[in-house]
Point group: C2
C-alpha cells in the first residue's frame, strides 16, 4: 500500500463520515457531515467530496477508500455487487475506482435465498473490520439500523446475510401510523422495563401486525404511560427481528453499530440468554484499512 495516510469514508444514504488514518491504521482525525447520498445531486459528488476531504487528499500518494450507498446506482459511481461467499480479498479485488489510484469504492454484496436476492453496501466493510479488531474468523454479526443486516461469517468469508427493515418499521409506525397519535412527540428517556416487555411479547411469536396495535390499547386503557410507549414499540420490533433468527446455542454474536443501538440489542439478546459483544464505528475504519493493505503500491502507480 501507499506509504501515505488513508482517507476512509463511510458514505451512506443519510450521512457522510470520514477518518484520516495513519499508515498503521490508527485514527488521526474524524469528520461527519449531513450529506448522505440522498442529499447530493447527480454530478455533485466530486465537489462534495472535495469540500469535505480535499485537504486530507493533498499529499502525494494519498488514497481514499469509500464504502456504503455511495457505490449504488444513486451514488457517485456504481460498484457492482460481489456475490456471496466473499472474503475481504475478493471485495478488495473488485474496487470501483472513481479517480484511478486515488479514490475507490468498495463493492457491496449480494446473496440469494429461495429465489429472492438480498443486498448490502457498507456492512461488508464493517464486518471485515469487526472481525479484524476482534481477531475472529467465524461469527454471526448483527448490524442494527434502518435496515438491519444479519451476516454469517465462516473462515473469514461472508457466507450469507439477511436484511430486516426493523428501524424503518419503527419509524413508519412512530411517525406515520395511528400510533403516532398516541405516542409522545419526542422519544424521551429510554424505559428498559417497557422495552423488555415489548421484546418478550414479540419473542412469544405473536405477529407484529397484531402486537403493534397493543401499543395503542395499552395506552388507551392506561396500562402503559405515554412516555413508555416508544421504548415498548422499540422492544416489539427488535424482538420481532430476534424471533425471526435461528440462533445456534453456541453462536458467537457480534453487534456492530452506535452505542445506543448496540446496547439495546445486547439487552434484548440477554433476555434470550444469548451473550453478544458490541463494537462501534471503528469497525468501518478497520475494514477500509484492511482492504487498503491489499492494494499493492505498484498498482497505484498506474494512476
Amino acid at each position: 500500500m501507499c506509504a501515505g495516510s488513508l482517507v476512509a469514508v463511510d458514505w451512506g444514504s443519510s450521512s457522510l463520515r470520514g477518518a484520516r488514518l495513519a499508515a498503521d491504521g490508527q485514527v488521526l482525525e474524524e469528520r461527519s457531515f449531513a450529506r448522505g447520498i440522498l442529499r447530493v445531486a447527480e454530478g455533485e459528488f466530486s465537489a462534495v467530496f472535495e469540500s469535505c476531504f480535499g485537504d486530507w487528499m493533498q499529499g502525494a500518494g494519498a488514497l481514499c477508500l469509500m464504502s456504503g450507498m455511495v457505490g449504488s446506482k444513486q451514488g457517485w459511481t456504481e460498484a457492482p455487487y460481489c456475490a456471496c461467499p466473499s472474503g475481504f480479498e475478493e471485495v478488495a479485488a473488485r474496487l470501483a475506482w472513481v479517480v484511478p489510484g486515488r479514490i475507490a469504492i468498495v463493492p457491496g454484496l449480494v446473496c440469494e435465498h429461495e429465489g429472492i436476492p438480498d443486498v448490502m453496501r457498507g456492512e461488508e466493510t464493517q464486518t471485515f473490520g469487526a472481525l479484524k479488531l476482534l481477531g475472529m474468523q467465524d461469527a454471526l454479526l448483527v448490524h442494527p439500523g434502518t435496515h438491519s443486516k444479519w451476516v454469517q461469517v465462516r473462515a473469514g468469508c461472508i457466507q450469507s446475510f439477511a436484511t430486516f427493515m426493523t428501524g424503518e418499521f419503527f419509524a413508519l409506525l412512530r411517525q406515520h401510523s395511528i400510533l403516532s397519535r398516541t405516542l409522545p412527540a419526542s422519544d424521551g428517556d429510554f424505559d428498559s422495563d417497557a422495552f423488555a416487555q415489548g421484546v418478550m411479547l414479540a419473542l412469544r411469536g405473536k405477529s407484529l401486525l397484531h402486537t403493534a396495535f397493543g401499543t395503542r390499547t395499552l395506552s388507551l386503557f392506561d396500562r402503559l404511560s405515554a412516555a413508555a410507549l416508544p421504548s415498548y414499540l422499540s422492544g416489539l420490533v427488535i424482538g420481532e427481528e430476534l424471533r425471526a433468527q435461528t440462533l445456534p446455542s453456541d453462536a458467537k454474536l457480534v453487534v456492530v453499530g452506535s452505542e445506543t443501538l448496540t446496547q439495546r440489542y445486547q439487552d434484548a439478546l440477554a433476555l434470550q440468554g444469548i451473550p453478544a459483544q458490541c463494537i462501534g464505528s471503528q469497525a468501518t475504519w478497520a475494514g477500509l484499512w484492511a482492504i487498503a493493505q491489499t492494494i499493492a503500491p505498484g498498482s497505484l502507480s498506474t494512476a
Copy 2:
C-alpha cells in the same frame, strides 16, 4: 320496535355510510359520504348527521342506530365498550343514546389477551349481521381492512377477537417506506400470480421485516415487474396475517367486507386449502336491524 323505518348508519374513521331500511329489514336506499369522524370537528356531528340523513328522520317514530368509530372518544358521543363474551342482546342493551328514543350508538367491544386489551367498533355489528344473514351461531369471522379483526363466535356470542394492522402496514410500506420509490405510483391491475407468490412466502414463516425488503430487491434484479410489486406486497402482508392465525381444520370461516378485499382473502385462504365464504356491506345493515328489533316500542316512548 317502532313501526317506522330504521336509519342504519356506519360511521367510521374515514367514511360515513347510511341505509334506510323497511320494517322487515329490506334496504330501501343507501348513501355514502366522505365525512368519516376524522373529518368532522367536535360539536359538528349533529349538523353533519342532519345534512346527510335529516330527511330520512322526519317521520314520527323514526329510529337511527349507528355503529363504528362514531362511538369513540373522538366521535359524537362515547359509547363505553362491552366486555367479551357479548351477544347482540348485551350490545343492544347498552346503546348510547344521542337523542333519546331517536338516535343511538351501538357500543364496541373490548377483550384481553395476556394483559393486553384489544378493541373494535363496528365489526361487532357486522359480525352479528353476518351471522343472521348466514344463519350461523358458531364461526370465525375476518373483517379485513386498515385494522383487520378476527372474531371468534360461539353460540351467537363473540368470545374474543384480535386486531391486525394489515391494511395500515400495507399503506405505510406503500406510501412512506423505501419501497415507495420502487413501486409504481398507482396500484394498477391486480396480479394474482404475484399476490400468491407473496402469500406463499409469508406462510413459510419468514418475518415481514425481512420479506418486505425482498419487494425492493426483486425489482432491483428484474425478477418482478414494477407493475406486479403492489400485488406481491399485498400478498406478503395478508399472508403474514394468515400465518399468525391458529385455524382449526374444520373452521367455518367468514370474510366480511368489500368484494375486492374479501376476494383477496378468499384467494389467500384457498392457498392454504381453507374454504371461506364472503359477505358484503349488507352485514352492517342486518346487524343494526337485528339490534333495533330488541328495542321495545315502549322504551322509545320515554324520549
